[in-house]
């Protein structure tokens, strides 16, 4: 009997030990996951951005926890784009993480230069149980997913366009609410315009990521499209003429002198210096407008959802992400840092502590602390609302970002748009030239004549 009891006790103790050991084996931690890669350095090529500025003070915690060093190479966006494409074309392997965005996904997927992340996401040794892919803001992840549904990058910042408007100036003219439609926008601009403080400014400088970023949604809002059913451009149709006339008209009639050379820097500068009543531009600028060191309009502005067009409600959108180049040397370490930087905890901390509010995690957007922190000008609420509306729209981006040649296509149309804004060409003339240029690009790429459906994701 005594022996029997002893055996039972021993078995119990062994079971408990086995359970503890197995529980410990299953418990995932950054330290444990990073153990094989301790001492490696992850080289990151990324652009200057308010959300990266908010990342820099806190990424060292990753280094401390994992023993993996991270080296950022920060460049201005255009310069970074050039450097990135040169490095990729040369297949140098100099970087382990590189910037990827909405109109880079198709380009990088075409040559398989961005590692599909599925194998890392599904690896329990490398990916924590809290990773939760479904928690990413829908359009943010979609922007970095190719047409074969392979995730090519993870998003660290996502934005739609917002309208920023001066509450004091609208009050002065008896306007209770910001404009909700194109027609209302025109009416408000007409009412509030003065030479000293013009009504509005929209991006004008040519470029797929400059004026096309703001303008792209206007085409869809008027019911236009880029291509017919067989990849032939339809850029000189009635809808396009209406869209460009409307966009250019706002700038020409109600914009500041010299608006034809305005990029987002000038828009942000003018609005934050109190020189504009309204501006339509990217979400992250809310942080700038609320910063007393950079803005004279703190407490005098609010944000609003983008206006609805006569046919559809379309949004400007961009997602910034990071991808692992196929020729990267430290892929697993890179994945760990990428996972860390886009995790729920990090995104929320970045937002709450350092103001990097263009988060890509739904739990962060819905966190009560986030809502309180980003309540300035109603920014947090409007930003979340815009992202939510955009996620339900079938084609929220409304530029053909899925074509690797989008940069050149966007630039060709951007030139036409700037020519229209400056009055150098009529809409018909400019759009005919753009249509011809885009057709040449499509023909050279071998797309013209093929079903458009095979290109769209």
């Amino acid at each position: 009997m005594k022996r029997k009891k002893l055996v039972l006790w021993l078995l119990s103790i062994m079971s408990v030990c086995l359970f503890v050991v197995s529980a410990q084996a299953q418990e995932w931690s950054w330290k444990k996951a990073a153990q094989p890669y301790k001492g490696e350095t992850v080289y990151v090529l990324v652009n200057f951005h308010p959300d990266i500025e908010a990342t820099l003070p806190i990424y060292k915690e990753f280094e401390q926890e994992t023993g993996i060093k991270v080296q950022f190479d920060l460049l201005v966006r255009r310069t970074m784009d050039i450097k990135a494409e040169t490095e990729l074309a040369a297949q140098s392997g100099a970087y382990d993480l590189m910037h990827i965005g909405l109109w880079k996904t198709a380009r990088y997927a075409k040559r398989d230069w961005a590692e599909p992340l599925g194998k890392y996401i599904n690896d329990p040794k490398l990916t924590g149980p809290d990773f939760d892919l479904d928690d990413f803001v829908y359009n943010a992840l979609r922007a970095l997913t190719d047409k074969d549904s392979k995730i090519r990058g993870l998003p660290w910042s996502t934005e739609t366009g917002l309208i920023y408007y001066r509450t004091d100036l609208l009050d002065k003219y008896g306007i209770a609410e910001p404009p909700k439609t194109f027609e209302e926008m025109k009416e408000v601009c007409k009412k509030v315009y003065t030479k000293d403080i013009p009504s509005i400014a929209l991006r004008s400088v040519r470029g797929y990521g400059v004026n096309m970023w703001s303008f792209g949604r206007y085409v869809g809002s008027f019911g236009g499209s880029y291509f017919d059913d067989f990849m032939r451009p339809t850029i000189n149709t009635e809808e396009w003429i209406k869209a460009t006339t409307f966009y250019a008209g706002l700038n020409q009639k109600y914009g500041p002198l010299g608006v034809g050379a305005y990029k987002h820097y000038e828009l942000v500068q003018d609005f934050s210096q109190g020189k504009l009543v309204m501006v339509e531009d990217a979400g992250p600028w809310g942080k700038v407008f609320n910063d007393p060191e950079k803005s004279t309009v703190v407490g005098k502005w609010k944000a609003a959802v983008l206006t609805k067009g006569p046919v559809k409600h379309r949004f400007s959108h961009y997602t910034h992400g990071l991808m692992i180049p196929r020729m990267a040397r430290n892929k697993e370490a890179a994945w760990l840092f990428l996972q860390y930087m886009t995790s729920k905890e990090f995104q929320l901390k970045r937002a709450l502590v350092f103001g990097g509010g263009s988060v890509t995690r739904t739990t962060a957007l819905e966190d009560p602390r986030y809502k309180i922190t980003f309540d300035f000008g109603g920014w947090g609420r409007v930003n979340a609302e815009s992202l939510a509306i955009a996620s339900k729209v079938e084609d929220p981006y409304f530029v053909p970002y899925y074509l690797p040649e989008y940069k050149e296509i966007g630039d060709s149309i951007g030139i036409a748009l700037q020519n229209i804004i400056t009055g150098d060409q009529s809409p018909e003339e400019a759009l005919n030239s753009a249509n011809k240029a885009v057709l040449e690009i499509l023909e050279e790429a071998g797309y013209a004549g093929k079903p458009t459906s095979q290109f769209r994701p």
């Binding site: 784009d81 400088v205 034809g260 003018d270 690797p404 700037q418 020519n419 400056t422 150098d424």
Partner: protein, 294 residues
């Protein structure tokens, strides 16, 4: 022939070759090889996303011949050269004629003249972009006081002129210094003799100094033409080739094609063409004015 003299000649030749070889090797490495590779690349279709380069012989050059945007960029480059070099030489001649004579504070003036020239082109671009900002720029403000209100960089009719003006601001000191050096090399007795005969300053300048300055002017024009053809930071920062394509000169178009559209083959063809244009312009300028090296 004396066999000893043959040996001496061979030895001299060998010594000469040995002394020239390092320079030739460096020249080949930094000039001939890159140019050769550039030309080789221009004979291929090579674009981002392509698995390999495809040899198409002169296909890119044929494409260039039909590319309206390329011809626009050539026209703009020639216009920019005409405006910028014309301004620099014209104003430079007047200013140098005044400055080369002795006056109080001459050294301080010469020092101040150097400041634009030694400023980095990027700084010049940023500075003038701010100066010409229609609402906040100091130059726009001052011009506004005399009734000139124009968004210089946003107006397709004035953007290229604005670039030429900024280039003139930066490089006119170089022209002035070159011309002053040329003037200083002309003996004073010639001017004095003309003055004694009753010639005015303008006549002295026109009939005596200017002809003697011709070789210096030609060299200065040559330098400035080639430099203007290469101007890049100012355009990149001030206008990015816009508005539209109003300031998209040849090298900027080549840059966009290569690094933004990632068409490396066609971009190489454009770049090689720019190089060829530089050579042709140099030969053209030198032979037009029949300058002979001593």
């Amino acid at each position: 022939m004396n066999p000893n003299s043959t040996t001496i000649m061979s030895e001299k030749r060998r010594t000469l070759l040995m002394m020239l070889t390092p320079a030739v090797v460096v020249l080949i490495l930094v000039t001939v090889f890159p140019l050769g590779y550039l030309f080789w690349t221009s004979l291929h279709k090579w674009e981002f996303g392509a698995a390999e380069k495809v040899f198409i012989l002169f296909g890119n050059f044929v494409k260039m011949a039909h590319d309206t945007r390329f011809w626009n960029s050539v026209l703009l480059a020639l216009s920019l050269i005409g405006m910028a070099v014309g301004l620099q030489i014209g104003i430079g001649l007047i200013v140098s004629e005044r400055l080369y004579r002795p006056f109080k504070g001459k050294n301080i003036v010469r020092m101040l003249l150097l400041l634009p020239m030694v400023s980095p082109p990027v700084v010049v671009g940023v500075m003038w972009r701010m100066f010409l900002q229609p609402r906040l720029g100091i130059v726009s403000y001052l011009l506004g006081l005399i009734g000139v209100k124009n968004p210089w960089l946003a107006n397709p009719k004035t953007a290229l002129f604005a670039i030429a003006a900024v280039d003139t601001w930066q490089w006119m000191p170089f022209v002035i210094l070159m011309l002053m050096a040329g003037l200083a090399s002309i003996p004073d007795e010639l001017s004095e003799a003309a003055q004694a005969d009753g010639a005015t300053q303008l006549q002295i300048f026109r009939y005596i100094l200017l002809p003697l300055l011709k070789p210096v002017i030609i060299i200065t024009v040559l330098f400035r033409v080639i430099d203007t053809l290469k101007v890049f930071p100012k355009i990149f920062i001030m206008t990015e080739g816009g508005p539209g394509t109003a300031t998209e000169i040849m090298n900027f178009y080549a840059f966009r094609t290569t690094f933004q559209y990632s068409r490396f083959g066609y971009g190489s063809a454009l770049s090689f063409t720019i190089f060829a244009v530089c050579i042709l312009l140099s030969i053209g300028i030198m032979s037009t004015f029949k300058v002979r090296s001593e």
